[in-house]
Subunit: 356 residues, 2 copies
Amino acid sequence: MKKIAVLPGDGIGPEIVAEAVKVLNALDLPLQLDWADVGGKAYETSGHPLPPATLKLAQEADAVLFGAVGDWKYDKLERSLRPEQAILGLRKALGLFANFRPAICYEQLTHASSLKPELVAGLDILLIRELTGDIYFGQPRGRRTAVDGHFPGAEEAFDTMRYSRPEIERIAHVAFQAAQKRNKRLTSVEKANVLETSQFWKDIVIEVHAQYPDVELDHMYVDNAAMQLVKAPKKFDVVVTGNMFGDILSDEAAMLTGSIGMLPSASLDANNKGLYEPSHGSAPDIAGKGIANPLATILSAAMMLKFSLNQPEAAARIEAAVESVLAQGLRTADIWSDGTTKVSTREMGDAVVKAI
Amino acid sequence: MKKIAVLPGDGIGPEIVAEAVKVLNALDLPLQLDWADVGGKAYETSGHPLPPATLKLAQEADAVLFGAVGDWKYDKLERSLRPEQAILGLRKALGLFANFRPAICYEQLTHASSLKPELVAGLDILLIRELTGDIYFGQPRGRRTAVDGHFPGAEEAFDTMRYSRPEIERIAHVAFQAAQKRNKRLTSVEKANVLETSQFWKDIVIEVHAQYPDVELDHMYVDNAAMQLVKAPKKFDVVVTGNMFGDILSDEAAMLTGSIGMLPSASLDANNKGLYEPSHGSAPDIAGKGIANPLATILSAAMMLKFSLNQPEAAARIEAAVESVLAQGLRTADIWSDGTTKVSTREMGDAVVKAI
Ligand SMILES: CC(C)[C@H](C(=O)O)[C@@H](O)C(=O)O
Ligand SMILES: CC(C)[C@H](C(=O)O)[C@@H](O)C(=O)O
């Protein structure tokens, strides 16, 4: 019996997670699901976005199925109490250093992209983002009086970007191994022409490459990567980058597909325990309306079965079922177009269950 | 008599700057042009990418016309000697804190964009990037042994992101004033949900906003901005952001237009002295072939006349001449399409001169 911590969170989180749970249940696997509040919801029920009980449940589980957190109504809380702290706290506490963000353009949804169809048809990029280091967590950080710089004596704020050798080595290994399972091309993205941390990153990626001679490695500055993603996204296979650049580029890549409502993600620790969540956010503007697309969450559950629960066949069944509902022409509002059938969140989940 | 330091640099720099100089000469203005080497070229002639004589010339000039720097052949030099250090050094030494990066989609070039024409037709964004602060210049930085973090005792590299109150205030004023001259909408981009520096940035932008009640201000996280630029770029008017995020987003925005060979840029100090350069790079792969697009550099010269030399009519004449050569169907290879006339770098420059 494998244990799954189910954390629906805020906004559309509860609706989309409910559909993913329905799909998991339909597979009849030996899974024990336990629920807990997280994000704004948890703040309201227990005063903190990541209460100890929620963290404990996540720590004891074999995998975490996560919805989304955040709502404008929490914007005025001090930062340590805001919903996003829950996801940052979980990443750190569970050591989820490897974030897999596929950017896939489904054949039937090519038209939904902002890009010309020929540029995105068949797009299949895997962006791997380091998730527990970099300027996200680097100490020291804060406010102080500047002692040097352009305006000594002025009030200033600061953060520290930092990466250690083992942090870079482990994400590099993950990325090279992922590339080996795909088209054997890896692009490491940094800003080595400006940043010490980036030059160190690049040096170590080159060192680790020696163990993966079958993978073709190239290096790209982050500004150029942001351009090449727009210009010719299909030139990429696997991309590996740090936490901050990965935040930006993974969202850019996801939006290129035009159907971010379809994109799952996985955040793994060193032992393939993971947190699985859709790539999109909590979308408070459409919460409770029953129109959100549950497929990214359903596909996240498939990633969970594959990466953390050693159930690749069950994962494949979910993926095939999703392909099948798309082929049937079923679409939630975000991916709907003329000639297809608009369905609700629940109808989409039911259709996937039926297709299984 | 105004003094202009002309720094052609590497790659296609000399070719495109030559055309801009031809255009300036055709205007018959009281300008004194003085040339100097910069970047890899300067490293070869005098051992440093920004030799003292070049810096002095730039410091004593009223404006700097800059081509581009960089070539793969310098990749193996230690960082302090690489061509990019010239541009970083000039920004810092001249106090060029305000970088103006327009992303404009010319009507005749809409087809060149990766995006669907309806998403970019008429696009006109002004991205304002802070250029002398942030993690680009923040001390301390370097390599050391980690004393805390995930792997105490390990080798690590680090950089410091920092912004002081006066640095943020002055770029905010520049941005609000630019917005007042346009559609009075300003988007401030940061990552205040994660970074102390970003929260400080946001707080101060809100404070400065009190002095510009006619400008509508909104705030966007950098990951969301990277997405919205792809999804609906025309929703932006003026964007203001820090040095690092501005590096990424300005290149993304430029590439969206599909014609980065058309986009000028200006980097200004507190007294409107500025450095003017095309948004594209040195393109060593096509250097010396006479096929580079000189229009971004020619339009940079127009920005120079407007911002630093108080010659708005002369600037307008250049801009009109560029519109006219496009209307004549003249295109360099980068923007050429069926039914238009392919011309060389020099032919394009000559056509602009003739149109003046
Ligand atoms: C909510 C936020 C802290 C988070 C991040 O920046 O990592 C989000 O943007 C993401 O990418 O998962
Ligand atoms: C060459 C490099 C240092 C520079 C930067 O990062 O600022 C360039 O990318 C730019 O945007 O002008």
